[in-house]
Symmetry: C2
Subunit: 377 residues, 2 copies
DNA sequence: AGAATATTTGGTATCGCTAACATAATAGCG
DNA sequence: CGCTATTATGTTAGCGATACCAAATATTCT
């Protein structure tokens, strides 16, 4: 009874001209098949659509439709299928679904690092929207290495992701070519790209740095130091430095190379930055830190030295991390729309995938930033 | 010439009894196929193994073997295949690979939240090992909600992940059943489970809390408050509280419910905890915070009140976040092996998948913790 | 009412790859 | 030198789903 319909079909097809030998072979195979699937089917988790179909007494196509496009089957069928699915504990196989339909619900995300709060807020936004939309997130790190990014892109395209999110706007030529050829929608973030691959959602690092520097200048600070993160493999850092310089120009201040302090990440680096700045230019009266932890480290160093902020030195930070407004004095920061960037990026990407929203192609969304003015300036 | 081999095969199979009409139909289909794939094939990224095979003049099986088990083909073949792959820019389709082989290189990770440093350090460890081993990470959030976790598990099993990592040790019965039925290896983390699903890698929350409390007690503190995170949906928090109580018992101190302060997350909550503690029990002489940000918030509150640490009150924290050893006084903390947990968990999971290391089944690895003694106690 | 159209359901051939078996070519052995 | 191991490649039949088209049934309209 189990395989009856399949058998009759086969018989119908074979009637008339099949050699007996071949028929025997077919039967054997059928037997093997049944054994194998019976073993696997023990847990309903591994059941196939066919098992559901058999149980509901319908074809696999009806099951397929009932599950992925319920309106295309009658209410009664839908009911029967859903019941069978529940009874068996069937879980649709997404691999087969994607392979067969050439549509994928997996989105690939590539970030420099998964344990840096700079990125994780964006990841949070992405994650929430993606999951709510029935998609899944595949994540990988690429450091600040374009070649590594290329490798990951290759892997993700191999997985036939439905879309890509790159927290980076500089890519190898090879990576660009692959993405173009694959025709997979992409959102870049982390900066506003001059030459977007496809779509982009970000704030402008240069504008933000410029705005903060201008703000400091307008408050009357004359010797504004800038603690700058590594610019070698990081266009974000480079753009921040550009913004800083641009602002100085607008303020009519001549940039002093000794006031641009190259620093590592972390609080210790922030403390060092203070030391370097004051050693090189004793009359420095403001320090703009290119990162939140940097600013926190600088803060404690200043405090240790007994300096008033902003009396002796004003302090401003690029990122608005929680700590900075619990310190005393509270620290002036740039609030960046990190979470919103994630949300928006995911929404745009999913529109492209689901609604073929091709008009979004090429859009570069600037989500701006905000200066949070506090006591330290 | 293009489709010659396929054509001959088909001809051979059809010889003798196929109706002309059907043959014609076949031809049409072939033609359509060719058109479609020619279109798709424009970018090598979407090429199929067949295209590579044709170019190298070998069968697809040889290509398959050359790529996934190079030692099983001759050096010359390997060479030819690799060359063809490069010329075309072919990327193997992982979906098809997994479907066909019923092996998957995707690992599913479920964490309560992707933007909490508590988890991200572990994710970092996982991510590095997973990628180095040629696997991919699929990530989703589940909050502190078991039902949500169950949903995500369902999705991931649908994607036929090769393994699961759950940052949580409490699951719905349904979730346990599905995992058991699916026979997918699992690592639980975040706590040492009494009843592991499969494998587990963690430290013990109760032991850690107990150790810190004992440490404080032995230093002579008599009124040790504990700032406790939400225990309703969080066995980690519950275990920490248990550890605290256990230690008090061992110290011969009677627990005072007013010294167990239920708090939310974040620095603001830490500040409130200080206020609550001192209001309820003015003679409180130590505060043990169940989280790093909590401790930081408490620190600033004490500072604001002009309290000496540990003169007026000793402060200790459950997590060793960077900030806490940049403050003055530096804060005593529990250092937890979060990164190592990720590394170890990934290694074990991958051993299970790749080497069928079944002896690992059931292992619960305790990676311990360390008390970092600093000035605040 | 009867043809025409719309709606539901089913059959078959893929999607791109690998497992399993079959075969050809090479090597090893007494 | 013939015959069995071994190695290297090819053939076939799926993996579990959906696309596409055909068939059957229900609905609408003149």
């Amino acid at each position: 009874m189990d395989e009856s319909d399949t058998d009759t079909k086969k018989a119908a097809r074979e009637s008339g001209d099949t050699a007996p030998g071949q028929s025997a072979a077919d039967d054997t195979q059928n037997g093997l098949l049944e054994n194998a699937s019976a073993k696997r089917r023990s847990g309903g988790v591994n059941a196939r659509m066919r098992d559901v179909a058999k149980r509901a007494g319908v074809s696999t196509m009806t099951v397929s439709r009932a599950l992925s496009d319920p309106d295309r089957v009658s209410a009664e069928m839908r009911e029967r299928v859903i019941t069978a699915v529940k009874e068996i504990g069937y879980l649709p196989n997404h691999l087969a679904r994607s392979l067969s339909s050439t549509r994928s619900t997996t989105i690939g995300l590539i970030v420099p690092s998964v344990d840096n709060f700079i990125y994780t807020q964006t990841v949070k936004g992405l994650s929430e929207v993606i999951r709510r939309s029935g998609f899944q997130l595949m994540v990988a790190e690429c450091g600040h290495d374009e070649d590594e990014e290329e490798e990951v892109i290759k892997t993700f395209l191999g997985h036939r992701v439905g879309g890509l999110i790159l927290y980076n706007t500089e890519h190898t030529e090879e990576a660009r070519a692959m993405i173009r050829a694959s025709d997979v929608p992409v959102v870049e973030s982390g900066n506003l790209p001059r030459r977007p691959l496809d779509m982009a959602v970000s704030y402008s690092n240069s504008e933000a740095a410029k705005a903060m520097t201008l703000y400091l200048g307008r408050l009357g600070y004359k010797k504004i130091a800038f603690a700058c993160l590594d610019t070698r493999n990081n266009d974000r850092s480079r753009d921040r430095r550009e913004g800083y310089l641009e602002a100085l120009k607008q303020l009519g201040q001549t940039p002093d190379p000794r006031l641009i302090i190259d620093t590592a990440r972390g609080m210790a680096a922030g403390a060092e930055a203070v030391a370097h700045a004051v050693e090189a230019v004793p009359e420095v009266d403001a320090l703009f830190c290119g990162g939140g932890l940097l600013a926190a480290g600088a803060f404690f160093e200043c405090q240790k030295r007994g300096w008033n902020m902003p009396g002796r030195i004003a302090l401003a930070s690029f990122d608005d991390i929680e700590m900075l407004h619990h310190l005393s004095p509270t620290v002036t920061t740039l609030r960046l729309p990190r979470y919103d960037i994630g949300v928006r990026a995911a929404q745009m990407l999913i529109s492209r995938i689901l609604d073929r929203a091709d008009h979004l192609k090429g859009s570069v969304v600037d989500l701006k930033f905000e200066i949070i003015q506090r006591e330290s300036t």
